[in-house]
Structure formats: C-alpha cells, structure tokens
C-alpha cells in the first residue's frame, strides 16, 4: 500500500513537473512570441493620414482641393475565379486595359494592384461584382475645379521616389513643407469585435493638416486672361505666349498665364519642359520695353530731362564696327526725350545710355532688381546674370540702352516697371496673401525692397509712356477714354552668337489708369507669324485684356 502511494505521489510529482515545464515553456521560453501574438489580437496601431493643404484665390474660391480616390487590389491567394475571368470583369473600369494576368498566377503574392485613381461610384460598381479576393485602399488626390487654369503657377503633386507625395514647381513646390502637413498615428486596444476599449492604454499623435494658401490671384481675371491669350496666340500665330498682371502698389500677383501649358492632374502625359513657368523660368532680351527703364535711370540721375533735345538723332550711330539704326530707319533730328520713347528711337536711347555711363547704368539696373531673383514665392525662378560692372564695353552699353544684349525674365521686367507705376518703390512680387494653419492665419505683408527712383522721376517717365500709347505705333488699338502708360517692344532672338533675322519676341508692358495705377501688365508673344512687331500683336492683346479688367473691376473712363 505504502509503495503504491509512493508511486502515485511520484506520478503526481512528474505530472506537476510537466505542468511547470509547460508553463515555463509558455511563460518564459515563448513569452515574447506569445505576447506579440496577443498584442496583435487586441492592440491596434493606425496611421492617421493628413490632408494636404488647399489653395484658394483672393475670393476664397478653391483652386486646388483634395478628393478621395481608391486603388483596387487583388489577393491571388483568396481569388476564387480565374485571372482571365477577373480581367474580363474589370475591363470596363480600367479604360479597357487588361491587367497583367501573370501576376495572378503567383499564389505567393498577397497584394497585386489592379486599378487606381477611381471614385466612389466606380468602387460601388466593382463591389457589386461580388468578387472574392478583391480589396480597396483609399487615398487623397489633388482635384482642380478650374481644370488646368493657372497650371504653371500652381505646380503639381507627384511622387518623391520613395512613395511619398511631393509638390513640384510653382506654389506646390515652393510651399511644399507648409502644404504637406504631418501624418499622425494612434495606438489603442480593441475588443473581439474591433471596438476600442477605453479603459486600456491609448496613445496618439495627432496628424497636423497641411496649411491652406490664400492667393492674391483673381480667378475671374485669370480665366479671362487665359481665354484672351489663347485666342491671341492663335490669331497672331505665336509659338508661345505669357501674360502677367500685378498690383503695382504692393507687388501682389493678380494673374499669370502662359501657353502652351499642361494639365496638372495628368502632368505625366506632358513634356516636362512645360512644367516650367516661362514668366519666372525663361529669359528674353526685352527690346524696346526696356527703354522706359533706361530713360528712368537717365531722368533720375538728371543727365536728361523730358524736353531735352537729342543732338545725335539725325542718323545712324556708329560704335566700333557696329552701326545702330532705328527700327524703321526714320530719323527725327529734333527729338525730345519724350519723342525718343514715343518713336522707340534706338539712336536716341544710345545717347541716353552714353549720358548715364556704364558704371551708373549697372548700379541702377541692380537697384531695379535686374541680375538677381525677384524672390517671388514660386518654385523654379531663375535670374539671368548681368555683365560685371567693369565688363561693359561701349557697344554693350549702347545695345542694352535699347534692350538688346541684356537678358531679363518677364517677372523681373514687370517688377521693374511697377516701380514707375507706384511712384518709385520696388516691391517683391507675391502670389500668396495669407497662410492659414492650425486655426492661425499668417498674413504676408507687402515687401518693400528698395526705392530706385523718386516720385518725380516716376511721374515724368509715366507721362512719356502715356505719350507712347497715345502717339506711338500702337495708338490704333488703345481703348478710348482711358489714360494708359505703356511701351511696345520687339526684340530679336539671339541664336549661336548672332540674331535670327526673321524671328522676334514681341511684348507690351504698361499700367492703367496712368494717374492711379490699379494694375501693371506684361504681354509677351514668341515668334508671331502675322507680324513681327509688338505694336500689331502684343499691344492689341494687352489692350483687349485691359478692357476686360476695366469692365471686371468697374474702372470708369477718365475722359
């Protein structure tokens, strides 16, 4: 009996040891693995996506929004139908493109993307097919209510190469950090039905939504400008065209359009060259529109006065091996400085340039902002360099005085002429008026950079520009009743060390009403076919847009 009890006790002891061993196995040896398995069951870690900031025009109308779109994927391990059948079922939703069937045969895969960028309606239709093994992933995509309006100004959102969204070009590129926001995460415990358990530990890092941008851009004006520019380019047979309009009193950009452009929502279908905004990323020799800047420098330095007579305007001017002529080879011996601007007289401008002198000329070009970026808040701005202060030969000064042999960007030119329009202050051009982040609004005040000329000089050159519009080559196209200050330009295009004899870049720059300018505008057209002259192409287009602005803003005629 005692022996049996001993055996029984021994067996119990063995059993107890086995239990202890198993417990040791589960609780110590396999602890980490089992803990992980358990945590997977009751712990949830979610990424909380953030929304990219929206972009609004000056009337708070959205130019860029986000819309939810879906990606359809398949899990080949769970698919119950053949790949061929699946491909046929999905053909309707995939712009008649059949997915790659080979991937479905690989049963080791868990996730095969099928169709992307479709909306809720298509999602419902696919769900109605009741195909097992299909799933959806939701994400946000940029939506443009105005389609490709101001595409080059807005830029686009693409992939940064590591699967993250990134803004490229224009505002999307420049303000990418502000717009992108910061995604968050949430860690909590759930019950068997996936409901959160409030008594358990919950940690969270809130996502920060991207900041919204409010622009100075006037959507209606932008729409009108794009329409006019498109028609103008077709009418004059131009290869490329740009229009930029700003408020000269503070540097606010009101409209900026260029053609050809691209569709931001399908940017990948277009030539990447079109992503660049010509207004800030291309340079050109400005030609005669530059004369107003040179004349302003002359007036500011007191080397010429509006009624001074040009002593060397009787005929062509010879400098070194070059002969400088007027555009129509007509000469006006008793031209005043105003007449030089009105007739767009190259020889007269050479006289003004000589009076200024190379050193002072260079100094004032810098004061007007040439040779450096305007720092406009758009990605992709370039600045063609100025010839060094001591590198100006006599011929360089002569050609630059009528706008050849010097390169500028359209935005530099517009900013410089704004100085004349506002009475002498150089403002930094600004596209964004306000940044709204986290219930906090940051208003961007106008940035005054310098004061290149006095109010008196600005008035004098304005009067000359008004005369240029009223008596110059483009007078036939100007709107009646409005006092407009402007200047036409026709510049030759440099190619391989000389100028193309046929092709020109035509332009018109000006502001209105001249006494109290509400806008300053630059129109440029590259290689127009109907006429090589700015007065017959860019100028009428400028006046058409100006007419639209007068109507849109209710600016009455002054006489």
């Amino acid at each position: 009996m005692a022996k049996r009890i001993k055996w029984l006790s021994f067996l119990f002891f063995l059993g107890f040891l086995a239990v202890v061993a198993k417990l040791f196995f589960w609780q110590v040896w396999e602890r980490k693995h089992l803990n992980t398995l358990a945590a997977r069951q009751y712990s949830v870690s979610l990424d909380v996506p953030t929304e990219r900031g929206k972009i609004f025009d000056q009337d708070n109308f959205p130019l860029v929004l986000n819309r939810p779109v879906f990606l359809l994927y398949a899990n080949p391990q769970k698919l119950k139908i053949s790949p061929k059948e699946l491909a046929e079922k999905l053909e309707l939703f995939n712009e008649n493109k059949k997915p790659d069937l080979g991937t479905f045969l690989d049963k080791t895969l868990l996730w095969v993307p099928l169709i992307k960028d479709f909306g809720e309606e298509t999602k419902k239709k696919i769900e109605d097919l009741n195909v097992e093994g299909l799933g959806f992933e939701e994400y946000q995509k940029r939506f443009y209510p105005e389609s490709s309006l101001s595409a080059q100004l807005l830029g686009f959102v693409g992939d940064d190469g590591q699967g993250q969204e990134k803004g490229f070009f224009g505002l999307e590129g420049y303000y990418d950090n502000e717009l992108r926001g910061k995604p968050g995460w949430r860690f909590f415990q759930q019950d068997a039905l996936g409901r959160p358990m409030p008594i358990a530990e919950e940690t969270e890092e809130k996502s920060v939504a991207g900041s919204n941008l409010f622009l100075n851009l006037d959507r209606s004006l932008q729409f009108l400008v794009e329409g006019r520019l498109k028609k103008g380019m077709a009418k004059y047979g131009a290869l490329q065209g740009s229009v930029v309009i700003a408020n000269p009193q503070n540097g606010a950009i009101l409209a900026m359009a260029s053609f050809p452009n691209y569709d931001q929502s399908q940017y990948y279908l277009f030539d990447p060259e079109l992503y660049r905004n010509p207004v800030i990323s291309s340079s050109f020799e400005p030609g005669s529109i530059f004369k107003v800047i040179v004349m302003a420098i002359g007036l500011e330095n007191g080397v010429v006065k509006p009624n001074d007579i040009c002593p060397s305007c009787r005929g062509p001017k010879t400098i070194a091996d070059y002969t400088i002529k007027t555009w129509n080879e007509k000469y006006y011996p008793d031209s005043s400085m105003t007449d030089i601007i009105v007739h767009s007289d190259n020889v007269g401008m050479v006289y003004v340039g000589e009076k200024i002198g190379a050193s002072r000329f260079y100094e004032f070009l810098e004061k007007f902002g040439f040779g450096k970026k305007t720092n406009i808040d758009l990605q992709g701005e370039i600045s063609p360099g100025l010839r060094g202060r001591k590198e100006w030969r006599e011929i360089d000064l002569a050609t630059a005085s009528f706008g050849q042999g010097i390169a500028v960007t359209p935005i530099q030119m517009l900013t410089a002429v704004s100085v004349i329009a506002n009475g002498g202050t150089l403002y930094q051009p600004q596209v964004v008026k306000k940044i709204f982040e986290d219930n906090r609004s940051i208003t961007i005040d106008p940035i005054k950079k310098s004061r290149p000329i006095s109010g008196k000089t600005a008035k004098e050159i304005t009067t000359m520009m008004v005369q240029a519009v009223e008596r110059g080559e483009a007078k036939w196209a100007r709107p009646e009743g409005y006092k407009i200050a402007g200047k036409t330009g026709t510049a030759q295009i440099p190619i391989a060390g000389h100028y193309d004899p046929e092709k020109t870049i035509v332009s018109f720059i000006g502001f209105a009403p001249a006494d109290d300018p509400k806008f300053v505008m630059l129109v440029t057209l590259a290689e127009p076919k109907t006429s090589p002259w700015g007065s017959e192409t860019a100028a009428p287009l400028w006046f058409e847009i100006a007419n639209d602005i007068f109507r849109l803003w209710g600016i009455p005629p002054s006489y």
Binding site: F61, P62, L65, N66, R67, P68, E120, F143, P145, E146, S147, L149, Q190, D191, G194, R195, P196, M197, P198, I199, R219, S220, F223, E473, K475, W476, A477, R478, P479, E480, G481, S531, W533, S535, E536, F543, E544, N547, R551, P557
Partner: protein
C-alpha cells in the same frame, strides 16, 4: 466559519457583478466611440463631396459653358477703339 464563508461568497458575487457591469459599460462606451467615429468620418466624406461638387458647379469654365448653352454671348467692346488701320498697315 459558515458565516465567514457566506460573506466570502457574497463578496465574490458582488465583485463579479461589479466586474460584469464595468465590462458592459466599457463595451457600450467603446461601441458609442466606434459609432461616433464612423459618423464623423461619414460626415467628413459627405462634406468633402459637397465641397467638390460646389467647386465644380461654380467654376469659371462651368459657368462660361452654361452661359453659352443658354445663349449668353461675350460683351461687345462698346468702348472699343476707332480702329485706325492706317498705321498698322504701314508697319
């Protein structure tokens, strides 16, 4: 001893009931949080859809298209220039 055992059993029953009540309250709370989250998300979605629809409806291109459909034409340049082509033709 019997009295003590009774007290222990009663205490266990009360504790179990307490645990049961707490657990059910937690589940109800979790359920309402879950429902609220779903509702918030649905409202956000509806709001976003409305925002997109409104923006599309009042975009300049839509307005211009609808205006053209109902017969509006662009304003004629009533204050336009006396067109003097003589200068232009000379150039």
């Amino acid at each position: 001893m019997k009295k003590f055992m009774k007290k222990i059993v009663l205490l266990i029953i009360i504790t179990l009931m307490g645990q049961f009540l707490l657990a059910s309250k937690t589940v109800v709370y979790g359920d309402s949080v879950s429902i609220l989250e779903k509702e918030t998300s649905a409202l956000k979605r509806a709001n976003q859809e409305l925002e997109l629809k409104i923006a599309s409806q009042i975009s300049c291109s839509t307005i211009a298209r609808k205006a053209a459909e109902v017969g509006f034409i662009p304003i004629v340049d009533t204050n336009q220039t006396k067109v003097d082509f003589s200068v232009a033709l000379r150039r």
